[in-house]
């Protein structure tokens, strides 16, 4: 079978152009979703001393869970430890912007919330922050998804998504599971 060198080169250039177009389409899709749909990875680079979380203003025991901030934003603060989340259950309203803020005093953890695209690593030394809107009501699973020690398999929490009318903050703006 005689294939000339120039025929081979021509076919390769044609294919290379197809590859170029395929790569450009993927690239365009990523840029479009990033800029237009705000689908970006969690990347706030905010440090916190894991050895002194209890001394921080934000991640003290009494300030954990969901709170409607004075300016109206809804923030849920969670501490991930070996081998539990504190608090183990959080309440969030459906169809409202919610900011999750998580950190850890010990080792690397991570979370996802089943049925949503909430996902972040929790790295000691940093505050992980995810902005999201929960659209379905009900109890969602929030497991630790990074190996954190022998108790890892038992480490999970519940995200309770309630309709807006059932989301009733107390005088301090806090909402808890019970």
């Amino acid at each position: 079978m005689a294939v000339s060198e120039s025929d081979i080169l021509r076919s390769e250039v044609r294919w290379a152009m197809i590859v170029g177009v395929a790569v450009a389409v993927i690239f365009a899709a990523v840029i479009y979703t990033g800029i237009e749909l705000h689908v970006n990875p969690p990347s706030n680079i905010e440090t916190i001393d894991p050895k002194a979380l209890h001394l921080s203003n934000e991640f003290t025991e009494s300030n954990l869970g969901t709170r409607v901030e004075p300016e109206g934003r809804i923030t849920t603060r969670i501490v991930a430890t070996q081998f539990a989340f504190d608090p183990p259950c959080v309440v969030v309203p459906a169809n409202e912007p919610v900011t999750l803020r998580l950190t850890t005093p010990d080792v690397i953890h991570g979370i996802l919330v089943t049925g949503t695209n909430v996902n972040t690593m929790i790295v000691p030394g940093y505050v992980a922050q995810v902005h999201t809107v929960f659209t379905k009501t009900g109890d969602l699973l929030m497991p630790c998804h990074e190996y954190c020690g022998l108790g890892h398999s038992q480490m999970w929490a519940t995200v309770r998504v309630v309709p807006r009318e059932s989301f009733r903050p107390d005088a301090e703006g806090r909402v808890a599971c019970d």
Binding site: E12, P41, I108, L112, N119, M121, G125, Y126, G149
Partner: protein, 541 residues
């Protein structure tokens, strides 16, 4: 028989012994995660098993296979004795000693930190020192590959380095670059912590250094498969390689683009900015290019073979191919798995979309399909091709080899396709057992059990594979023809100097690594983030 036969066989037997044991661990882990009652499941056993499975498959199988195949290629493709053979044996024994050290630490339960060993979880120093010895052994291999090519070029001025060897050296050079990240992490942070010299570690820095290694290491594993695609499959099919130049370009692109992309493993991490995540995502898109070029070149090469065998029409060349030959069969099955695995990989690398599947079974499915499927099935085919040259025995029939390859393919599909589905539905990685009384999790049960069936087929295939290699001894002793790598339709008499060596590409790698990893690493020294306290897994903590 080649003079490196003993050396190559020693490496391959270690590789496949580790592989067989790791398969047993793997199947038990899937059983534990399923709704079926499983013996011995406690957390200590499970995470010991995951660590052993990962280390055996990702570090031992791969490194020993690549070294052994590299020595064979250096002598066969260059047609001259391997330089520095005593050094090669020294590297082998160093790597064996390291493997034994790491295995002892893992099996005693002192190193259940998984094969990614993310600090501040820290295990026995013997685990890390063992891994270092394996890497140092592989560095000796890298240097011997570079020396072998240099000596050949000295004896053949201006001649193109045979493609199989050019690719092997590209892999050796890439591996030297690749291991810089993990070596820095181990030597400066993790080993001092495991020896108790420091109490705290900068976790962001360790993750970033590990990510330097974490993507390119996959291409280190993948190179032998691509070497087989380019230089063995066309020959086995009875055709010619469509283009030698495209092969060179592909291997150079792998060297350049597999390194500055590791940050895509940290898309969901809080210690890096969207800016650098975006930069490395962009470079990751480009690493799809050499694979897409390969699919074209190899398909074209096989089309030549199919048409030479009388295939007609647009697709008539496909059934005309000699699918009964293990190398051709493995290449076809490998491409099918590459299609699914590569598609899954596009989701992983797509920046924000990564949030949907990060640390779910989708990721486990992806790398089992790409590495365990696409790559390891070619390791099998390579062994079937070179084993007669190593032993002087030719298999009487190839039925058992074909059966083994089909079992591996079917098993891998049955195992990994349900994992993709489970990952999309939120099943997370790295846990020993699920609470199947939870309604969300209960729905996963049948899929997890299905994947276990795939695992059983994979294990059966692994046993048949090792049996096939061992049983060859009983087959007829035959004068085996010297091994020949595929030649191109137009075998080049001269190639540009840039595609006959790596000087230019090393400079490009350096520039890209400074651009992609310069600030992401430097930021830790500028920001001085708070450290985390070391947590020992080997002292009940």
């Amino acid at each position: 028989m080649t003079s490196v036969a003993r050396l190559t066989k020693a490496h391959l037997w270690i590789a496949f012994a580790a592989f067989l044991v790791a398969c047993v661990f793997g199947i038990w882990q899937m059983w534990a995660r399923s709704p079926l009652a499983t013996p011995y499941v406690i957390a200590e056993h499970y995470f010991l098993s995951v660590t052993a499975h990962g280390v055996a498959m990702a570090f031992v199988l791969t490194t020993f296979f690549i070294m052994g195949f590299g020595y064979f290629t250096a002598e066969t493709a260059l047609d001259r004795p391997l330089p520095g053979k005593p050094w090669a044996w020294a590297g082998f024994f160093l790597a064996v000693a390291g493997t034994l050290m790491a295995v002892a630490a893992i099996l005693s339960g002192q190193a259940s930190v998984l094969y990614t060993f993310y600090p501040p979880l820290t295990g026995s120093p013997f685990f890390y020192l063992g891994l270092v010895l394996v890497v140092v052994g592989s560095w000796i291999w890298c240097i011997l590959m570079i020396v072998a090519m240099r000596e050949w070029k000295g004896a053949h001025p201006g001649a193109p380095v045979p493609l199989a060897m050019f690719a092997t050296v590209a892999n050796a050079i890439m591996w030297l670059w690749t291991t810089v990240g993990v070596a820095a992490e181990l030597l400066f942070i993790v080993i001092p912590a495991s020896l108790g010299w420091v109490d705290t570690v900068d976790v962001g820095l360790t993750r970033t250094l590990f990510s330097w290694t974490l993507h390119a290491i996959v291409y280190f594993w993948l190179f032998p498969a691509y070497i087989a695609f380019y230089t063995m499959a066309p020959q086995a099919a009875g055709g010619r390689l469509y283009s030698d130049m495209m092969g060179r370009l592909t291997f150079v692109l792998f060297l350049v683009y597999s390194l500055p992309v590791g940050l895509h493993h940290l898309f969901m991490d809080p210690e890096h900015s969207t800016g650098f995540k975006f930069v490395q995502m962009s470079l990751t898109v480009l690493v799809a290019v050499p694979t897409l070029l390969t699919v074209f070149t190899i398909s074209a090469s096989l089309e030549i073979a199919g048409r030479l065998r009388g295939g007609r029409g647009l697709l008539g060349w496909i059934p005309a191919l000699p699918w009964d030959r293990p190398m051709v069969l493995a290449t076809g099955l490998s491409f099918v798995m590459l299609f699914f695995g590569g598609g899954g990989g596009l989701v992983n690398m797509s920046y924000g979309l990564n949030a949907l599947i990060h640390n779910t079974s989708w990721v486990t499915a992806h790398f089992h399909l790409i590495f365990g499927g696409t790559v390891v099935i070619m390791y099998f085919a390579i062994c079937y091709a070179i084993w007669p040259r190593l032993t002087g025995h030719e298999a009487g029939t190839q039925d058992a080899q074909r059966l083994q390859l089909w079992l591996w393919f079917v098993g891998m599909m049955i195992m990994s396709l349900p994992w993709h589905w489970l990952g999309l539905h939120g099943q997370w990685r790295r846990v020993a057992q699920f609470d199947y009384t939870n309604p969300i999790i209960a729905a996963w049960g049948p899929w997890v059990t299905t994947s276990l069936v795939g695992g059983i087929l994979l294990f059966a295939s692994a046993v048949v594979f090792v049996w096939n290699l061992a049983a060859l001894r009983a087959d007829r002793k035959a004068p085996v023809a010297p091994f020949a790598f595929a030649t191109a339709v137009h075998q080049p008499a001269r190639v540009p100097a840039s595609l006959n060596g790596f000087g230019l590409w090393n400079v490009l790698v350096l520039v890209l690594m400074i651009a992609a990893y310069g600030w992401p690493i430097a930021q830790f020294f500028v920001l001085q983030p708070p450290h985390a306290v070391v947590h020992r897994v080997d002292r009940g903590g």
